[in-house]
């Protein structure tokens, strides 16, 4: 390689950056490059390919599951079943039962009986023991459950292994600790359990959302009827096996599978004193209409269109990494995904170049490959929805940049995508896409950033990237979002309450605040 060139020409002091580039282009702010044709570029080619590295543990998924009611597997009275497939390769994973109103009645009957006869009478300390036991079993079986979660939902094994399962266990451990300390939740008042609660969860973090719902409900002394999402019910069935192994009293947790009608029956049933829903804003509104005037407590964790706001003084590579993580984590199937990048105009061009270089090395592939960064889109319907809205972005004049990686032939996959030249009026800037699609907008001043960030029906989360601490505090106070992350994104802890503003819902999950919604 060429090691020789005249040293003297380059022997310039640092304080004179302009002198070092004899090239014609004008350097951008901070002495960083402006894009030019013929400019040096990095080569991300095939010099060193990673061979497939599949996780091979048997997930132990049974060919069929009934409903889990009263601690037992019960055949659905509906007599109907449906197939659960893997979005990774469209193969059938298991056959699941469809619960109808009669099945949901049976589930609530079991939950009521368990509540009155066992769970309400049990001391908090005893309840806590069950929660600890569940948490430990989740840890014991973490690897198996991670494989099942990835197969069922399409998320990369490294995420289910390193994020979903550890967080899932953490939620049970955290709430186990609260079970005998509930009198400290509301100082000066001893709270009491609600009784029976109904819960409906989404398909993006099946086990984790189940943990967010079930752990606080049980810790607070309630019994549960929960409906998992139809495309991702398999790990809930594995969780039922854990409940049996933990010897949880029959009826304390009941799991009913099925579609929208089952969910409507779960939330519309007269028994539950509280309904907790995580899912789309659209369905959330239907439930709110359905339950208006019923006197039931309600918490909603709905959609989002979070802004990730990058100022010109931000540590730029770490901001790039955070923006990438914010939108491509779990294929963008994250309600708090940072799907709108608001970047200060003075660094926008450079920032987008760096994003493009970064997505060039993102690996899209089979969820069970340990090197997969972006897995499969959860379902065919979701893939169609993403494809449609991305087409609208192109039609409305935004510029689409996609990575050029190879996609698997079978299964549902979508290339990591970035839209530039997006304005507040574009659909891709307003609607929740719930896929690996980032919309890039620019701003000039802090006030403009706040205005644009808040100019949305949603308000679940936001990110701020700057080297200046006081600006972080000002932004955090100005952004109408339930969570504001500073110089990081997508960080969760069971002790930290999570929830939204505006059409992103109400009520909080996690922390002391999360307990309040499960107590009277």
């Amino acid at each position: 390689m060429s090691t020789k060139s005249a040293p003297s020409r380059r022997a310039k002091p640092a304080a004179k950056p302009a002198a070092k580039s004899a090239a014609p282009a004008t350097p951008a702010a901070n002495g960083r490059p402006k894009p030019r044709s013929g400019q040096p570029e990095l080569v991300f080619g095939d010099r060193w390919e990673y061979e497939p590295a599949p996780e091979t543990v048997d997930p132990g998924i049974k060919p069929e599951y009934d409903l889990f009611i009263g601690g037992k597997w019960v055949a659905a009275k509906s007599g109907k079943r449906f197939d659960s497939i893997s979005p990774a390769d469209e193969r059938k994973l298991s056959s699941l039962a469809v619960a109808n109103e009669a099945d949901v009645n049976a589930a609530y009957a079991a939950a009521s009986a368990a509540s009155e006869k066992i769970w309400l009478k049990m001391s908090g300390r005893e309840r806590g023991k069950y929660l600890y036991r569940i948490a430990r079993l989740l840890q014991d079986r973490a690897r198996q459950l991670a494989v099942a979660e990835s197969l069922d939902g399409g998320k990369p094994i490294k995420e289910s292994r390193d994020f979903d399962l550890p967080m899932c266990a953490a939620h049970f451990f955290y709430h186990a600790g609260w079970a005998d300390k509930l009198e400290y939740v509301t100082p000066g008042r001893t709270p009491s359990p609600l009784g029976v609660v109904g819960q409906v969860i989404p398909w993006n973090f099946p086990l984790l959302m189940l943990a967010w719902k079930i752990a606080p409900a049980l810790a607070c002394g309630n019994t549960v009827v929960l409906k998992p999402a139809e495309s991702t019910s398999v790990t809930a069935m594995l969780f039922a096996e854990i409940l049996q192994e933990a010897d949880l009293p029959p009826g304390v947790v009941n799991l009913v599978t099925g579609f929208g009608a089952t969910g409507a029956a779960v939330v519309g049933h007269p028994t539950p004193k509280k309904v907790a829903f995580t899912g789309s804003t659209e369905v959330g509104k239907i439930i709110m209409r359905q339950l208006a005037g019923s006197g039931k407590k309600l918490t909603m964790e709905l959609g989002g269109k979070a802004a990730n706001i990058v100022f010109d003084d931000a540590p730029i590579d770490q901001a790039v990494e955070g923006v990438i993580n914010g939108i491509f984590f779990n294929q963008g199937h994250v309600c708090c995904a940072g799907s709108r990048l608001l970047v200060q105009e003075s660094i926008a061009e450079e920032f987008v170049e760096r994003l493009q270089r970064r997505i060039a090395v993102l690996r899209v592939g089979h969820p069970l490959d340990k090197n997969t960064d972006v897995g499969a889109i959860n379902s065919k319907e979701q893939l169609e929805k993403i494809t449609e809205i991305v087409a609208s972005g192109v039609a409305e004049g935004a510029q689409l940049h996609q990575s050029r990686c190879r996609l698997p032939e079978k299964g549902f996959y979508f290339r990591p995508s970035i839209f530039t030249q997006v304005t507040q009026s574009h659909r891709v800037a307003r609607e929740e896409i719930f896929g690996p699609v980032l919309s890039v907008l620019t701003f000039r001043t802090l006030e403009e950033a706040v205005e644009k960030a808040n100019n949305t029906a949603y308000g679940l989360s936001a990110g701020v990237w700057t080297d200046k601490g006081s600006r972080i505090l000002k932004m955090a106070a100005s952004l109408k979002a339930g969570v504001v992350w500073a110089n990081t994104f997508n960080k969760f802890d069971p002790a930290s309450p999570f929830g939204g503003y505006k059409e992103s819902g109400f009520g909080r999950e996690g922390g002391r605040q999360g307990l309040l919604d499960y107590l009277a």
Binding site: M1, S2, T3, K4, S5, P7, S8, R10, A11, K12, P13, A14, A15, P17, K20, S21, A23, P27, N30, G31, R32, P33, Q39, P40, E41, L42, V43, F44, G45, D46, R47, W48, E49, Y50, E51, P52, A53, K158, D162, D313, P315, I316, D317, Q318, A319, E321, G322, V361, K370, N371, D467, N487, T488
Partner: protein, 320 residues
């Protein structure tokens, strides 16, 4: 270089280091460490592993830097460098790295092979000698046949804010190397303390280096050496400098990389940050000694399916 650093400081606000950080951009410690941790979750198997191991072997600067080094010890190191383990087709290492007094011995030992002789000069490892003395040391090492010079920057000057002086010294060593030798500039990252300072120092050095010259993390003589995170900060600086100027600077993490697994993680970082062109021993090196035998052990295991006892592999150097 007509303005004295002190005069410059009096007319502009803030320290020279702070101004340089403002110019090249800051680094967030939590973020860069998270990025680095992601490389450790990659799973490299079979053919990719063999390619990675062989490439890593070809990037080793096999090093001995001890007071008790002798021409005999250096000669045995050189044979190890030329023939690490021919039974499994292990390539020769990139270079041997020795003290200046042993350059002539090393040069004779590697004659006719592809293995280069690198020498730590400039009052290694502290750099605390007069510039004149350090330059003389470099010239002598080059005269004795060194193909590569590993210099240390004066961390004292850097921390005192005399950045121009640090840069002038590097430029002077570049000249002392002449066309005959490539230069590696050791930043001694553990003594610079912050990632901001490591990034700034990388730019400071690169601006006076020639294409193919190196920046290097450590001497291996302090408590903490190359880590994935400071490697990341430096290769990102190399990337930014290349995209800005077209000048490709090479990288050498040194010290603390003892296992094949670690080496592969560093290579993954290179692949995903700098791309294919840096997966080559003209652009990337490992300063190590204990690492080589672990790379060989893993390579034999890939071929035979079994781990060999440590005594199967020849000893050529003690750890650093």
């Amino acid at each position: 270089m007509t303005i004295a650093p002190s005069a410059l400081r009096s007319r502009t606000r803030g320290s020279a280091l702070r101004r340089l950080i403002d110019e090249v951009g800051p680094v967030d410690a939590v973020g860069v460490e998270e990025r680095a941790a992601k490389y450790t979750t990659r799973s490299i198997k079979k053919g990719s592993k063999v390619w990675g191991l062989k490439t890593a072997i070809s990037m080793v600067d096999l090093t001995t830097l001890e007071g008790k080094d002798t021409p005999g010890k250096v000669a045995s190191l050189c044979v190890k460098a030329m023939h690490p383990h021919d039974e499994v087709g292990a390539p020769p290492t990139a270079a041997v790295c020795v003290y200046p007094a042993l350059v002539a011995a090393a040069k004779a030992a590697v004659a006719g092979s592809s293995v280069k002789v690198a020498s730590v000069a400039t009052a290694f490892p502290s750099g605390q000698a007069p510039l004149k003395t350090r330059l003389a040391e470099v010239r002598q090492a080059v005269a004795d046949g060194a193909d590569e010079i590993d210099m240390v920057i004066q961390r004292g000057l850097f921390l005192a804010g005399e950045l121009n002086a640090v840069q002038d010294e590097i430029a002077a060593v570049v000249e002392a190397c002449t066309e005959a030798a490539r230069l590696k500039v050791i930043l001694e990252v553990s003594e610079l303390e912050t990632y901001d300072a490591i990034r700034a120092a990388s730019f400071l050095a690169m601006r006076v280096l020639r294409p193919g010259d190196f920046i290097k993390t450590s001497t291996g003589k302090t408590s903490s050496n190359a880590t994935l995170a400071n490697n990341q900060v430096m290769i990102e600086a190399i990337r930014d400098f290349y995209l800005e100027t077209g000048v490709p600077i090479s990288m050498k993490p040194a010290g603390g990389i003892r296992t094949a697994k670690q080496a592969l993680q560093f290579l993954i970082a290179v692949k995903e940050t700098l791309g294919d062109e840096w997966l080559d021993n003209t652009r990337y090196r490992f300063g190590a000694s204990a690492l080589l035998n672990d790379l060989l052990r893993q390579l034999v295991k890939e071929k035979t399916g079994a781990y060999q006892a440590p005594y199967i592999f020849s000893e050529a150097a003690e750890s650093y």
